[in-house]
């Protein structure tokens, strides 16, 4: 039933977009991690559905990889990090959430228009979702721009990787396995390095506010 598959993939894409907006509007660090975990779970589900209905066995491996990395490993690392940095209940003051949301809508419209001619070239069942994936990437960018603290920025970075992965799956049935493994491990290693960075930032400035980094200038 290709119609139902299409609808399911569209539904997952919509949920991803919803979660991206959730990440954009969320103030609490702990809720951010929960939203990120949900995003990973949605991604796993959509990849599995895609693999099952398009008969592409390598997508199962991607789904398994996504599940292990983005639903189990990354959230666990993040939880441990906020535990040790003692920022578990951190609340960040954001610049005017409704304005950020409106900028988000503009980005979504832009992404949809941008993706419209591209998705015409694709032959995948889920080509309509390319616009949504692109919108998620841009929203994660926006999240990284509007955040001041280090951990939400890292979560924005990870969410962007999620969106890119979804774009690859929806447009071309996934990247070659080697590339996918490479990216996944890159993100994991990047995550660990960023964790070390965060500890260093706090050592130096007694805070995770990245505005302090601007002072690092040689006279």
């Amino acid at each position: 039933m290709p119609a139902l598959v299409n609808q399911l993939i569209n539904l997952f894409a919509a949920v991803l977009l919803l979660l991206s907006f959730g990440l954009l509007a969320q103030r609490r660090v702990l809720s951010l991690i929960h939203l990120f975990t949900l995003q990973g779970a949605t991604l796993t589900a959509s990849t599995t559905v895609m693999a099952y209905f398009t008969d592409q066995p390598h997508l199962y491996y991607s789904a398994a990889l996504t599940f292990v990395l983005k639903v189990l490993a990354m959230p666990w690392l993040l939880h441990r990090m906020i535990e040790r940095l003692d920022v578990r209940w951190d609340v960040e003051t954001l610049i005017n959430i409704p304005t950020t949301m409106l900028v988000g809508i503009v980005l979504v419209i832009f992404a949809f228009n941008l993706a419209l001619p591209i998705s015409g070239l694709s032959a995948s069942v889920a080509r309509g979702t390319l616009g949504i994936a692109l919108a998620c990437v841009l929203l994660s960018f926006l999240m990284m721009i509007t955040r001041r603290k280090a951990i939400p920025q890292v979560i924005g970075f990870l969410a962007m990787e999620n969106a890119l992965f979804f774009a690859a799956t929806s447009a071309t049935y996934g990247m070659p396995m080697v590339v996918e493994l490479g990216i996944a491990l890159d993100v994991l290693v990047g995550m660990i390095i960023l964790g070390v960075f965060m500890f260093q930032i706090r050592e130096q400035f007694d805070s995770l506010d990245i505005r302090h980094l601007e002072k690092l200038k040689e006279e």
Partner: protein, 315 residues
């Protein structure tokens, strides 16, 4: 326009008017259970209405006719709204009189009169409540319209009865845009019905109250009508939500058997919906009034994304 459809209309209105306090009682009961309190009886709203109708109505000396008339106008608007919403059957003689946009206007009419009546007395609380209500209302209305527009785009009609018929009759399909609209609609309903994240319906002892502040000066039969209208509003919103997002089980034939069959289905759906409302209310904390615009901007945004997703995915 047959005799059957008139009977269907009458049954729908009667059920709404008589059943709305029951829904309120059910939500209150669920709330009490979830909060580990001993629950008030299910029929308590009826007893309250009965008590209030037999009490003397005290009106302030400076009150004008507007203050006295407002409860009747608000109650009338809510009854009419319940008549338009297809709760039991889509074959309603009143339905062509007003589409989804007019329905939003009807709610706005009730809100304006309630706010004017609250300001009429000139007490601080009434004015404060009216201002807050207008703030919430002007933010919630566009979001509600956008939700209804999403459904209207999918079904190519702004008439609620036509929307329900189209969605219920076609083969099963998942609409991501309707999922967005559903979340937005839930948020708007919470704000419009003065439920917990926006307002607390259980107390009138707080400085943060909105709805209760407006009806503070009412007593006796006027208060009874206002309380009844609030129940009707909750009932109407629940029925709109159920009709657009879960339209299965609503009768479309012009016979009474279908309506009789639809009634228990509606009761079941309302019971689940009421319990879900109680869960939401228990899980969330009341927001500061200045967070409300953020909350409703979120609802508006979700509804707009729903429309955008509809155009992009064609679904």
């Amino acid at each position: 326009m047959t005799a059957e459809s008139f009977i269907a209309q009458l049954v729908a209105v009667a059920l709404a008017v008589l059943g709305a306090p029951l829904l309120t009682g059910w939500v209150n009961q669920c709330r009490a259970w979830l909060q580990n309190k001993s629950a008030p009886p299910l029929l308590l709203p009826y007893r309250t209405l009965h008590k209030l109708f037999w009490k003397e109505s005290v009106v302030a000396e400076q009150a004008t006719a507007l203050f006295r008339g407002a409860p009747y106008i608000v109650f009338g608007a809510m009854v009419l709204a319940c008549g338009i919403v297809p709760s039991l059957s889509t074959d309603l003689p009143l339905a062509p009189a007003a589409d989804a946009i007019a329905l939003v206007g009807l709610f706005a009419l009730a809100r304006v009169f309630m706010s004017l009546a609250a300001m009429d007395i000139g007490t601080a609380f009434g004015t404060l409540g009216a201002r807050r209500e207008m703030l919430v209302g002007f933010l919630a209305e566009p979001a509600l319209l956008m939700v209804l527009f999403t459904a209207a785009f999918i079904t190519q009609s702004t008439s609620l009865a036509a929307i329900v018929e189209t969605i219920a009759n076609q083969e099963f399909a998942i609409y991501p845009s309707l999922a967005f609209a559903g979340v937005a609609f839930t948020m708007v309903s919470l704000a419009e019905n003065a439920r917990v994240p926006v307002d607390n319906p259980a107390t009138h002892l707080e400085l943060t109250m909105i709805h209760e502040a407006m009806i503070l000066e009412y007593s006796g039969r006027h208060l009874a009508l206002m309380e009844w209208a609030a129940s009707l509003k909750l009932f109407a919103y629940s029925c709109i939500g159920l009709a657009i997002f879960f339209p299965w089980g609503i009768a479309q034939e012009r016979d009474l058997a279908g309506i009789l069959l639809a009634a228990p289905v509606l009761a079941g759906k309302l019971a689940i919906g009421g319990a879900a409302l109680a869960v939401i209310e228990t899980l969330s904390a009341k927001m500061r009034i200045f967070r409300v615009p953020e909350f409703l901007a979120g609802a508006f945004l979700l509804a707009v994304i729903g429309i955008l997703v509809h155009f992009l995915l064609g679904a």
